[in-house]
């Protein structure tokens, strides 16, 4: 009877680990939409340059120097996954919001998902198809 109780002692315990700032990056899933159906195509370098030029307009040279990465870029849909540091998220997001045109064509960035974890960007309940 005594050893049974001792076993019960260990199995009842659990440990909870909470990460407050689990990731030093934030990941944004974005896509570039043009107002009219144009045949403008960008490659990944031009895409990144577009974001940098918007940062430069809004936040100057110092904003244009904010380090961020385009992790994934699809030319057909003009969608990408960006990675920014936590402290730069607000600036980069606001620069994406305020971009209006590219080569005198009206366009806009649509931010579809933002998460501190990259894994969260692969699944989205909005794209679930319910039978």
């Amino acid at each position: 009877m005594a050893c049974h109780e001792r076993m019960e002692d260990d199995s009842g315990k659990y440990e909870r680990i909470v990460h407050k700032n689990g990731s030093s990056y934030h990941y944004l899933k974005i896509s570039l939409e043009f107002e009219e159906d144009t045949s403008i195509r960008l490659n990944s370098a031009q895409f990144k340059q577009l974001i940098i030029s918007s940062l430069k307009q809004l936040f100057g040279e110092i904003g244009a120097a904010l380090p961020f990465d385009v992790l994934q870029f699809e030319e057909n849909t003009l969608s990408a996954v960006l990675r920014v540091y936590n402290r730069d998220l607000v600036k980069v997001w606001s620069a994406l919001t305020l971009l209006g045109s590219y080569q005198s064509e009206m366009c806009a960035f649509r931010v579809q998902q933002v998460s501190p974890f990259l894994l969260a960007l692969c699944g989205n309940s909005r794209t679930l198809k319910l039978e």
């Binding site: 940062l55 430069k56 307009q57 809004l58 936040f59 100057g60 040279e61 110092i62 904003g63």
Partner: protein
């Protein structure tokens, strides 16, 4: 009762020019414009929007190179960091601006300036070439005070 307007911060700066005749062209309006252009370049539209509202060149002394700038308390660091990027005024004169003191009122900046000027004068004392120069300098140092009746500067504007 708390005032809702932005409290100002005063940045006491020193301008130094590369060439000695750079001083003739400096005036307050030109300086104001050059600093706003530098903020536009360094911090963009956001920087100009933050700083330009309450930005003013309060005092400029072309003989000693002392400049007093006013800006809002929330964004004085933006202005301070821009001063490091200014390397010419109006495409002609190369210059450098360093901030020597940050104060909440013009009066505190004035008090600091008096001590600073006294220090600068004392630093020039060993380089005096004649005895007359030396005595004149020592007299100037001794007479550095904050004149109570002349000071109109205990204003703290809130706008």
């Amino acid at each position: 009762m708390q005032s809702t307007g932005g409290h100002p911060k005063y940045l006491l700066c020193e301008i130094s020019f590369a060439s000695p005749n750079g001083w003739q062209h400096v005036e307050e309006k030109k300086l104001h414009r050059s600093i706003l252009e530098a903020i536009q370049k360094a911090h963009g539209d956001f920087g100009v929007a933050c700083c330009a509202v309450s930005f003013a060149v309060k005092y400029l002394n072309t003989y000693t190179g002392i400049l007093l700038l006013r800006c809002r308390k929330a964004h004085y660091r933006l202005l301070w960091s821009t001063l490091a990027f200014i390397h010419q005024l109006g495409k002609k004169e190369t210059c450098a601006i360093t901030c020597i003191h940050v104060g909440g009122t013009i009066r505190t900046c004035q008090k600091f300036l008096i001590g600073y000027n006294r220090q600068q004068l004392l630093r020039k004392l060993p380089t005096c070439k004649s005895e007359a120069e030396r005595t004149a300098l020592q007299e100037a140092v001794r007479s550095c005070t904050l004149q109570e009746d002349v000071v109109s500067a205990s204003e703290e504007d809130s706008n």
